[in-house]
Amino acid sequence: MNHRGLLKPLNNLWSLVLFWIGTWQARADRIGEMVDISLKDQFIRFASMEDPALRFALAGGVILGILCGMMGTFLVVRKLSLVGDTISHAVLPGVAAGFLWNMEKDPLAILIGATLAGLIGMVLVSQLTRHTRLKEDTALGMILAGFFGVGICLMGMIQRLPTGNKSGMDKFLFGQAAALGWEEIQIMALVGLIALSMIYLFYKELLVSSFDPSFARSIRIPVDWIHHGFMLLLAFAIVISLEAVGVVLVSAMLIIPAATAFLLSDRMHWMLLWACMVGVMAGVGGVFFSFLGQKLPTGPFMVLSAAVLFALALFFAPRHGMLARWWLRRSRTLRIQRENALKAVFHIMEKEAFTKEGVTVIALARSKGQTLKATEMTCRELERAGLATLSHEEKALYLTPDGMRRAQTIVRNHRLWERYLTDAANYAPDHVHDDAEEIEHILGEDTVRMLERQLNFVDRDPHGKPIPTIQDIASSGQAQASKGQGMSGYRNPS
């Protein structure tokens, strides 16, 4: 079965899964019946969206999903996943400093402070890697934990102050979307809009500099500026997401939706789209689940929702999921097994100079050194693929015209390759067989024709056996079997 035939239903399956997940809220009340009363109340509260805190939280979750999806896509393809982690930890002292600026929770001051801290951290990382022998991962880890340590110290000092509001700081650690207010949503929306327009305006520059930086430089794209601009935007995005997801888990919201999208798409704009969708679903899911409990933080639930979607993609993605890959590998193995069986049949018929039409299963089993049962299974496989028919009374296998053509093609590939190796590459004739065993299944038609031309249309392999030509293959199956004459119009070795 052609593997492509499987991809379409997998695609549909995937869309179905997404649809099911996406309509979760619509069926929330039905699920609510299955849970105890207090949860059900929360469900209804959620679905009806009367609670203004909930509306803000959801808006925050959606904006965050889109923002992290977009920025995360470029993080993943530029292989900067752990840079996101470093920035998200390094902003902590900036958050503390922002708080100290006005001695209160001023979102703008915290935003600026955190962004500055993140940028300084990244500058230090690049300075460290440039001026010392330290590798990039070591530098990232040092800045990550070092800055975090400074932040923890500052937070400890803030807690002592009379105005130090501990619970306010706590929210920055694990996120509490319910604490989002109108001001925060505005800033989030603004940053989201800026990010969206930057990515739109500089799309091709981002694309080329991510894919092939040397080439981008050679066509005068300002790769370094793009990188710095991206880092700046990333720092903003991380800081914006802090309050909803928390310092520790922001990088997860950047990477996981984008990685999920990476498994689902083969082109950049689709990856961006998928990443935003998964991000939104994760954001909403996180808000939803954290809403069920009294003091549950949002961040971890967002991450877990995203992780579930990632796991689904990892297994079921149409081309790149594990199921699809397993299927492809399996069909390839089956094809090779079939072709080897055909080859064995051909060899037996050749030995008899093509006088007999069929090959007994016993003879086949003996030639391949297999058990009778295994050989019977192979024969049934061939039958299923339309390459042969099995006659039960005689216990013999008869090739169909298709099967004959395929058998001849394989044998031709094998023997041509052997000839090529001995003639052109000076291999010893007894060394060529194993190589040809592998190659015969994967030679493409143009390569085979080129081989033929190069070998001047030689007609025998290094062991003296005749090489089927294209004419042989084309006319195969048309001639009738008759005494002493080949069934296929194949030249009899004389």
Binding site: K204, E205, L207, S210, F211, S214, S218, I219, I221, M450
Partner: protein, 261 residues
């Protein structure tokens, strides 16, 4: 050669006393060469000779310690957009979400400038370049689903789409099948017929003899530069390859055969 010669626009590449270092170790030093237009030129040398480094420093990807490089008579990056660079195949992530046509279209981006979207004309050029390398059936394939030779052809098509006058190629023949190799040579000859200048870093000495008009022998210093046959002498090749006896003996055979024929 007078150093007072006026820089000419028609000379695609002029290098003077070029020295390039990597972590305070010299990789190239004192390179002095003038490339004439409209020729197919091979850069030959052993591993570590600095061949890729030379190409990259011409493109401005590596800083220069000393000396200068002039492209079409002007220093710096002024005429860089008339130069197309085909890097070694390994330098790219093949899982990147782009297809074959996307990669070739990237060759047009250099002409577009910031904030501009590709137009229909750009698509036509990209498509024509794909035809020249015979990759049109694969236009919407993701790039990981290609053989090595096919991937190399996509990179070539991208360089063609740039419509440049000087082409710098880093080992385009490395690891490709015979069919691709033939089509690459065909392409290079077509470019040369169009008056383009092509510099190719090449790894295989015997084929270098057949492919190129001129050869640059490089081993951290420029050993020599001139027409191919004149470069294939025992002394010159020994200077280039130093103690590499195995290659040398092969080449010595080839040279002797040539003298005997």
């Amino acid at each position: 050669m007078s150093s007072e010669r006026k820089p000419s626009e028609s000379i695609p590449l002029e290098i003077h006393d070029l020295t390039v270092a990597y972590q305070s170790k010299p990789v190239l030093y004192g390179i002095d060469v003038t490339i004439p237009p409209g020729k197919l030129i091979g850069i030959i040398g052993p591993n570590g000779a600095g061949k890729s480094t030379l190409i990259k420093s011409i493109m401005g990807l590596i800083p220069i310690e000393a000396g200068w490089i002039r492209l079409f008579g002007e220093p710096g990056k002024r005429h860089l957009k008339r130069v197309a660079y085909v890097p070694q195949r390994e330098s790219v992530d093949w899982d990147f979400p782009v297809n074959v046509l996307d990669v070739v279209m990237m060759g047009r981006y250099g002409r577009l400038g910031l904030f501009r979207r590709p137009k229909a004309h750009d698509r036509e050029v990209a498509w024509a370049c794909l035809e020249k390398v015979r990759m049109t059936p694969y236009a919407d394939r993701q790039i990981a689903n290609l053989s090595g030779g096919q991937q190399q052809r996509v990179f070539l098509a991208r360089a063609l789409a740039q419509e440049c006058d000087l082409y710098l190629m880093d080992e385009p023949f490395a690891g490709v099948d015979a069919a691709t190799e033939a089509s690459i040579i065909e392409l290079l000859h077509a470019l040369r017929a169009d008056g383009k200048t092509i510099l190719v870093v090449h790894h295989d000495l015997p084929t270098a003899r057949n492919y190129f008009d001129m050869l640059m022998l490089l081993n951290m210093r420029l050993i020599d530069f001139g027409p191919t046959e004149a470069m294939f002498t025992y002394e010159k090749l020994q200077k280039t390859y130093g103690g590499r006896l195995t290659i040398l003996s092969e080449v010595a055979d080839a040279v002797r055969q040539n003298h005997e024929s």
